[in-house]
Amino acid sequence: MPRMTQLDLIRNFSIVAHIDHGKSTLADRLIQLTGTVAERDMKAQILDSMDIERERGITIKANTVRIEYPAKDGRTYILNLIDTPGHVDFAYEVSRSMRAVEGSLLVVDASQGVEAQTLANVYQALDAGHDIVPVLNKIDLPAAEPERVKTQIEDVIGLDASDAVLISAKSGLGIPDVLEAIVTRLPPPKGDRTAPLKAMLVDSWYDAYLGVVVMIRVMDGVIRKGDRVKMMQTGAVYGIDRLAVLKPQMVDIEELGPGEIGVLTASIKQVRDTRVGDTITHEKKGCDAPLPGFKPAQPVVFCGLFPVDANDFESLREAIEKLALNDASFTYEMETSAALGFGFRCGFLGLLHLEVVRDRLEREYDLDLITTAPSVVYQIYMKDGTVQELHNPTDMPDLTYVDHIEEPRIRATIMVPDDYLGDVLKLCQDRRGIQLDLSYAGSRAMVVYDLPLNEVVFDFYDRLKSVTKGYASFDYQITGYREDFLVKMSILVNDEPVDALSMMVHRDRADMRGRAMVEKLKELIPRHMFKIPIQAAIGSRVIARETLSAMRKDVTAKCYGGDATRKRKLLDKQKAGKKKMRQFGKVEIPQQAFISALKMDN
């Protein structure tokens, strides 16, 4: 590895696009064509290394890889590419990644055209001061219309698309052109090798063997193995054990200079010492001013996470700390629930984010968790003039002291083919939306709605996907708070309130929500030996009620000698299965019910 890399031989860029437009597949081709990974080790979406990513076929974490490209000008360039996620819930990963690089490849699926996330990404890239190279992907598809999409990019985004690179990431067509465009059309990084060290802490994660691994982008100065460095925000000081670049596995390197991206390990014990966005400098002769840092992510959906087995609380705490290290957009604080015991109130950027974090905690840390109803953050204006932030419906103060309640509203941008426009408008209308704008780009409509976030966090994506057969795309920003007639709805199972299922709803929607909820619970709670009333209530007034009838048949018809052993083992298995249940009075509710009950389709 060369000891020192000239700045003009470096290109740092992120690959951004709407979900599924082919970012990770393009990264595959770039990795492959430059021989970064041996042919026999190649696999599709190689950078999507987490189990959940592979199962769902989407990128969740931004991933960095360093490749070397011998360009047509006869010189070999170091390219640091960051493959980013496309889903709106992981937009924070994208914005964070963009701070570490100078340019973006904007991938657009030539058969789909510009989508909501395409727009959002362009704005972010421009905000980060990036040069942008538009890349039209999937031109192998019969439905691809590169010319039409070029026009669309120019009309909708206002970006010159005449030089867009036409590729098929799947077949490899056009990939050499992408590499040349990176070198010729994206700027090299700037930086001063002789200045005091100034490096940006871009990402960090916990590795079972290596401990905490920190990814950095060097802005100025040089960092070497053995150096003692300081995290400027937290003040923590560490000696660097190991310095490496990602190809995509770690390859050791002696030093990293300006413009370079790499990782370090430093026997970091305190997971809290590494904050993304922090600036790393040398302990002695450090730089004066830190980098501006990242805007902290604003969690918009909150829910409680509780261990199924109360003894796992400490393991959950440890797991959450480690995971938060790898996901700066996720927040947590301790919570206690009458029904569920000790746990954490966690904040997420959206429902998929919530699901992914829960999944990762369960798999990577071998925990069984119960998730409570997701909630947004309400502002409770008290009669005494104070304002409380409500993250958890359980904490709703007594109404006699409440003056009014405000809820967060969003500006949602939805792009959808003409044919489905009617259904989308109806959906937004049903969710208390106010139409702000409606325009056309070819046969696609772009609608902008002002919506209460509360109506979106439950199942809006799912509904949108199903009414548009997957053809709509969606993006949103929080715009502010507004007063509305909101109430707390409680759920009672066998006359016992289940605090984990209580939620804030609009009064006009409460009856419908309540009815849907008790009907759903009736299906999700297994029959017991007795009948179980399931009710939704506002205060003491019941607004919906169902009765789960008693189980009538559950007996082994034939039980002879040998069955004694079999039945005994079966009972032991059942006992293990019961750990996935929660006891509410005499009723056992499977944890899956908590998750499913909230995914309502009306």
Binding site: D554, G562, L571, K575
Partner: protein
């Protein structure tokens, strides 16, 4: 430490072969082209000697030839086995010797042979009293053949019983009422009626998983069928003495009562299970399921078991609870305490009594009819922590 005496001592012999495999059946039964019955005979005798040496002097209450289809055994083989049994253990005066028979695999001559060998009770797998359903169940016999075989059995043996499977595909409550009424006109003093269970790993199980097994009764209908069966049989003088077994009082299957009363039993043959109390420890015995493997192991090692498992008091208590609550006589609380060292959870008992699943009478704990229909849940509740 000799608690098993409360249940008695029996011998179970497993004959693992059938003429064909029924699609619902998950018993250890196999179809084999040729069977060397002499060789099998030697293996059974060797196993009887082995277990006999561990249980000298015990009074034997019952022998049960189960399967598979034991009526495919040569009467000579049955005779040789029973001769060895008689030479091995002292016999109870009222020793019960049962053989499971398939209606298709018997003729009168063979029945006489079994009787002469010492069999005094036959349990016949009739399963259904209409030909269409027999066919759906994959049975080889017709209703007429079953009736004829049963008539022969009745005239040959002191005690006869037959099995029916109900809650079948597309069976209505009225269908079952009629079939059951007919069955009661045939029945002697004992009748077993099992609701069709879809077992994993059977042809029905596979079809069910693929959604291809239609028309099975929903839980509510099968519960109604169960209640109907209880009522009609009781009125006909054959009340249920166990979840699926009915008899005139005094005519219960003594062998099965040993299981349900948590007695001791030796299990011999492929896949057979046993429970033996030896020097104060209670052991669960088990044999390899594969017929070929079992036979080879007995011939090679002189022992047809996989390593035994010792049951601790809690496991013994659980087994007693699981088995005894199947019986209408229920469970004896002092005995349960003696076995397990603890009483059932009082709060749970009270809850179960309150919702009508369990009743307590003196020292006995019984499942009600409602409770027996959901016995798995009742037991899981009582056994849970």
């Amino acid at each position: 430490m000799d608690d098993w005496r409360n249940g008695g001592f029996g011998l179970y012999l497993h004959w693992p072969f059938c003429q064909s495999k029924c699609p619902y059946c998950d018993f250890n039964s196999h179809v084999a082209a040729t069977i060397d019955q002499h060789r099998w005979g030697r293996a059974y005798l060797s196993e009887i000697h082995r277990i006999g040496a561990e249980t000298p002097g015990r009074v034997l209450n019952s022998v049960f030839f189960g399967g598979g289809t034991p009526s495919l055994m040569q009467p000579d083989l049955v005779a040789a086995i029973l001769e060895t049994v008689r030479a091995t253990w002292p016999l109870a005066n009222d020793l019960e010797v049962t053989l499971e028979a398939n209606p298709g695999s018997v003729e009168a001559g063979r029945f006489r042979g079994f009787r002469e060998a010492g069999v005094n009770r036959v349990s016949m797998g009739i399963q259904a009293l209409n030909d269409a359903d027999l066919k759906k169940l994959g049975r080889l016999h017709s209703v007429a053949e079953a009736r004829a075989a049963f008539d022969v059995a009745r005239t040959t043996f002191d005690r006869v019983s037959f099995d029916l499977i109900y809650a079948r595909q597309d069976q209505s409550l009225a269908d079952w009422r009629q079939e059951l009424t007919e069955a009661l006109t045939m029945a002697a003093d004992h009748l077993s009626m099992y609701q069709l269970t879809i077992e994993d790993g059977t042809a029905f199980g596979d079809r069910f998983k693929r959604g291809k097994l239609r028309g099975l009764p929903p839980d509510d209908l099968s519960a109604d069928m169960y209640v109907l069966t209880q009522d009609i049989c009781a009125a006909a003088g054959l009340p249920a003495y166990e979840v699926s077994n009915h008899a005139q009082p005094g005519s219960e299957s003594r062998h099965n009562l040993i299981y349900w009363r948590a007695g001791d039993y030796a299990g011999i043959g492929p896949g057979a299970h046993g429970r033996l109390t030896l020097n104060g420890d209670r052991w669960a015995t088990e044999a390899p399921r594969s017929p070929g493997e079992w036979l080879a192991q007995v011939e090679r090692d002189g022992n047809g078991e996989v390593p035994r498992a010792r049951l601790d008091r809690q496991e013994q208590g659980l087994e007693y609870l699981m088995m005894a609550l199947r019986l209408s006589e229920g469970l004896d609380l002092p005995r349960y305490r003696a076995i397990s060292g603890a009483d059932p959870d009082e709060r749970k008992l009270r809850d179960l009594v309150e919702i009508g699943m369990i009743e307590r009478a003196g020292n006995r704990l019984r499942a009600t009819t409602d409770g027996r229909m959901v016995l798995n849940s009742v037991i899981a509740d009582l056994a849970g922590d």
